[in-house]
């Protein structure tokens, strides 16, 4: 193994185990120092990433005359300019930009989720004529209709209790078990991958 690779492996294992020991035995001074260093490095990595994004789109703007890249470059520079202006004048331009541009765009994209999901559900039924697709769609319809009917006055009083029982059974028994199984599976996977990283078996930083 090359020395260059060994240094990276040693760093990962050393700082990983040090963090683990500090957190396990509640050595608050040590853990806060190491987590502070990691946060600092992550912040620098984020800044470098955004600078790289800016460079890539500047290149695309001037070499390919891509106007969308121009919009992206202008938006990045605009926020940076607003931040500098805030620092000089004490105004609150960055928050105004967030409230005027980012928040409405994010909310609009999130609200389109219902339409996208509906289209995806229809596509699923069109392309896959399997029992699994039918079970998936029936569950989705039952849950949507059940929740909607339970809160409306359209449902006759006699049907209210059976519908409620079906929705509660699906939510409290089947979905709880399914989600718990998924979460335990994800946690076991995380533990295994973390252990492999801490033992230096997995080395994504040397690729």
């Amino acid at each position: 193994m090359k020395l260059k690779q060994s240094i990276a492996i040693f760093t990962a294992v050393f700082f990983g185990l040090l963090t683990l020991v500090a957190l396990l035995f509640n050595v608050s001074g040590l853990s806060s120092v190491i987590l502070g260093w990691a946060s600092f490095l992550a912040a620098i990595a984020l800044i470098l990433g955004v600078m790289n994004l800016l460079l890539v789109h500047l290149t695309r703007l001037f070499k390919e005359q891509n106007l969308y890249s121009g919009v992206l470059v202008l938006s990045i520079l605009g926020v940076f300019a607003a931040a500098v202006l805030d620092g000089l004048t004490g105004s609150n331009s960055v928050n105004a930009l967030f409230n005027w541009v980012q928040a409405p765009l994010e909310a609009a994209l999130a609200s389109l989720l219902a339409v996208f999901l509906l289209l995806a559900g229809v596509q699923l039924l069109k392309r896959q004529h399997t029992g699994w697709a039918v079970l998936f769609s029936v569950t989705a319809v039952v849950m949507l209709l059940g929740q909607a009917l339970l809160t409306s006055r359209l449902l006759p009083a006699g049907l209210r209790q059976p519908v409620n029982q079906i929705v509660e059974f699906v939510q409290n028994v089947v979905v709880t078990a399914g989600l718990r199984g998924l979460l335990i599976g994800v946690a076991l996977g995380t533990l295994l991958l973390s252990l492999r990283l801490l033992m230096g078996v997995e080395r994504p930083y040397n690729k």
Binding site: L23, T139, L179, L188
Partner: protein
């Protein structure tokens, strides 16, 4: 006046996004590029203001104190991260990434153990004991649904799952499919609520102002 400008900008951008419903178009693309740029730059501004500036002020206030000197270590690692742009010394950047990954793995290990695994196992509060047993059995079936290999070869010599294993896997897959269906329904109702909220917000604000 500034609120009105903000409202109109927000309304226009929302309409740009909704224009995707009639197909991919330049207005939608412009708004998405705008979102990426503003989000990325906003993240940088937040990180600089909340994390880097306080460190800088602390170091500037008392440069010789041990609390300040200790920051030389991550600064060194940050410089090594910058070296990734230079091919001859790009391997130095791997060391900084290794530190991040090592610390992240340790935090994820403890987080997964104490934040997810343990609470999911002990934090069960079923309405009845029978419900608890059913949930536990279905959870085990869900986990075993991801067992794709046989435990031992069959008499034919082929590594095929045993009948009980296939039964458990089928039950697990049914539970998973129902779970995904219910999650799909929950996401869809959330999306519908957000859509109604957005429309209601703009309609109310515009009616109040005009």
């Amino acid at each position: 006046m500034t609120d009105l400008v903000g409202l109109i900008i927000g309304l226009l951008l929302t309409l740009f996004i909704y224009s995707y419903l009639i197909g991919d178009n330049p207005l939608y693309r412009v708004s998405v590029h705008l979102l990426v740029g503003v989000s990325a730059a906003y993240a940088v501004v937040v990180v600089v203001r909340q994390l880097l500036l306080p460190i800088w002020q602390q170091v500037q206030a008392n440069p010789a104190s041990p609390d300040s000197v200790i920051w030389l270590v991550p600064i060194l690692f940050a410089l090594m991260l910058l070296a990734r742009r230079l091919p001859s010394v790009s391997w130095l950047g791997n060391t900084s990434l290794a530190l991040l990954i090592g610390v992240g793995a340790a935090v994820a290990l403890l987080g997964g153990l104490t934040g997810t695994l343990w609470p999911q196992i002990v934090g069960v509060q079923p309405a009845t004991p029978l419900q608890g047993i059913v949930v536990a059995l279905l959870t085990i079936c869900t986990l075993l649904a991801f067992q794709f290999t046989a435990l031992r070869p069959r008499s034919s010599g082929l590594w095929q799952p045993a009948m009980w294993q296939r039964g458990v896997t089928a039950v697990g897959r049914i539970v998973l499919t129902i779970t995904f269906g219910a999650l799909f329904a929950a996401l869809m109702s959330t999306g519908l609520i957000l859509l109604a909220e957005r429309l209601n917000f703009f309609l109310t604000e515009l009616v109040q102002r005009f």
